[in-house]
């Protein structure tokens, strides 16, 4: 028999998270600080709207780009929260989560051999999606001493005449790093000077602490060069609804929409109706959840630092990224030992790129009570291993 598989697909490594997930699920009564999704249930008024849409028999496809009223609400939301202007008719389309939009943007913009700069550690899908789109991923390693922010010098060191896109994954999963307006200024200048484009994954934009998220698309000259990706998963605790969106210049969105049209058809209809309710009446829920995360964040950082772990203060998402180099173990060894000795799952930093070596991703999408019992296990583990 001939080899049924595509060489391109075979050479892509499965996600490091997946591998760790398999180990964890073998383990009985393990507790976890390993998730990348909110612990809150979707607010009831949003769920209720989803249920109501099913009761009303809204079980048909929507148009490819999504419900008109949802696109209009997205447009209003982006203007009110981030000062971004997108025409709901042609500059916005609704996707099956932010992930679909990442894939779509890369496939719509890349030709074979085009280079995409990806700052790591970062979410797991950018690099394989670039490969799937026949692009060439170029990794930039974010540094702890820069608070895991992307710096202009780092871009200068890797840019070539083949570079086409920079992926901007901020607020960042797994580090929790954010890019402020000042941080973004030099990046925006660089992009314009080198005639590049940006795919800005802003899925955690509602989860910043102490300052509001700033989108790189809001800089002069950047709207034309940016695809903004956002969604409902993190801000409204709607991961399982699978709903996101992409916004950008019509010329790019038109092409992304073509991929969406043929591969997906449309995002789930009930989810879209629920999302309309989320955008109309969910600002209070978002603020409440953000406040809760912020308290857990402070609680967790203090506890980890009190134990003597080196831990930079993250101002976004719901992760902390403590360093564990002094224990003489790799991230993976540390995480596996923590799991087998203390039955606590955290994700090794290397799951988000090889430069995550020496770090762990700890999620605070957990109640304070859960965090406390997990912290006891970490403390026990650390004492044992630093002796």
């Amino acid at each position: 028999m001939r080899d049924p598989l595509s060489k391109k697909i075979v050479q892509i490594q499965p996600s490091g998270i997946r591998k760790f997930f398999d180990i964890v699920s073998e383990m009985k009564d393990a507790i976890s600080l390993g998730v990348g999704e909110p612990d809150f249930d979707t607010p009831w008024h949003i769920r209720e709207e989803g249920i109501y849409s099913l009761e009303r028999g809204r079980t048909f496809y929507t148009s490819n780009a999504g419900l008109k009223e949802l696109k209009e609400e997205i447009s209003r939301y982006l203007e009110r929260r981030f000062g971004l202007l997108y025409n709901p008719d042609g500059e916005i389309y609704v996707t099956v989560g932010g992930s679909e939009a990442i894939d779509g943007a890369l496939r719509a913009m890349l030709d074979s051999g085009d280079e995409v700069i990806i700052p790591q550690p970062c979410y797991v899908s950018y690099e394989p999606c670039v490969v799937l789109a026949d692009g060439v991923p170029v990794i930039v390693e974010l540094k702890e001493e820069n608070e895991f922010k992307l710096k202009r010098e780092q871009l200068e060191a890797v840019v070539t005449d083949k570079t086409k896109i920079i992926v901007m994954p901020f607020p960042n999963n797994p580090t929790g790093a954010i890019m402020t307006k000042e941080d973004l200024t030099e990046i925006a200048e660089f992009v314009i000077e080198h005639d590049l484009f940006v795919i800005s994954d802003e899925i955690y934009s509602e989860l910043t602490y102490g300052s509001n998220h700033v989108s790189i698309a809001s800089f002069p000259g950047m709207w034309e060069r940016t695809i903004v990706i956002n969604g409902f998963s993190k801000s409204y605790a709607m991961t399982g609804w699978r709903l996101g969106y992409a916004c950008g210049p019509k010329a790019i969105i038109d092409q992304m929409l073509k991929i969406h049209q043929f591969a997906i058809m449309c995002a789930p209809t009930a989810s879209q109706y629920a999302a309309v309710e989320a955008l109309r009446n969910g600002d209070g829920d978002v603020a409440d959840m953000r406040n809760a995360y912020d308290r857990r964040r402070k609680f967790l950082i203090k506890a980890l630092r009190d134990m003597g772990l080196k831990c930079f203060e993250p101002f976004g998402a719901f992760y902390v990224f403590p360093g564990i180099k002094e224990f003489g173990m790799s991230s993976e060894e540390f995480a596996e030992a923590l799991l087998s000795e203390e039955k606590l799952a955290v994700v090794p930093g290397t799951a988000f790129g090889s430069c995550g070596e020496g770090f762990l991703r700890i999620s605070y999408a957990y109640s304070i009570e859960d965090l406390k019992s997990a912290l006891e296990r970490i403390e026990h583990f650390i004492k044992k291993h630093s002796a």
């Binding site: 964890v24 857990r296 609680f299 799951a351």
Partner: protein, 166 residues
């Protein structure tokens, strides 16, 4: 962080769960233990924080408890309005809550008793015999679903969140 933000933070947190230690509250609100304790004491003195009762689902115990909601129509007292009447009612220890209402009746009185008989006796002998009480209507609670924002019977079908996700 300023006092107002800390106070609001304390109230938000202990309004849901009053069992956190001062150290925990201090960590969550990025301040120190002493500040937390001073602020809590001040809010207790000001009667902003009025108590720390636990929310108990008595139905799950062997001890019977009956709750009734009573609509009460009263004649307000000269110079004292409804307050004096309310006080005469809320001083009874069986009385759990008393609210002055807008609408068709004046006071909502919530009673906790050991049995229906005990509640009935309270209404007929104590409450309706007060001279300024004109009429009462008593409703017994058959089941409590949610109180103080907490669902008593957890209807959640287990936490099915995966242990590790990207």
């Amino acid at each position: 962080m300023n006092k107002e933000v800390i106070d609001k933070g304390i109230l938000d947190i202990i309004g849901k769960n009053s069992r956190f230690s001062s150290e925990d509250l201090a960590a969550m609100l990025e301040t120190d233990k002493e500040t937390i304790e001073t602020e809590i004491r001040a809010m207790e003195d000001d009667k902003i924080i009025c108590g720390y009762p636990a929310l108990i689902n008595w139905d799950k115990t062997d001890h019977e408890r009956v709750t009734a909601l009573i609509e009460v129509n009263v004649t307000p007292q000269r110079d004292m309005g409804f307050n004096k009447v309310a006080e005469r009612i809320y001083k009874f220890e069986e009385v759990e809550s008393v609210y002055l209402m807008s609408g068709d009746f004046d006071l909502t009185v919530i009673i906790q008793g050991k049995s229906m008989k005990e509640v009935a006796r309270f209404v007929s002998e104590k409450l309706s015999t007060l001279e300024y009480v004109n009429s009462t209507a008593t409703y017994f609670v058959m089941k409590k679903y949610k109180e103080h924002g907490i669902t008593l019977e957890e209807e959640h079908d287990g936490r099915e969140r995966m242990l590790v996700t990207p």
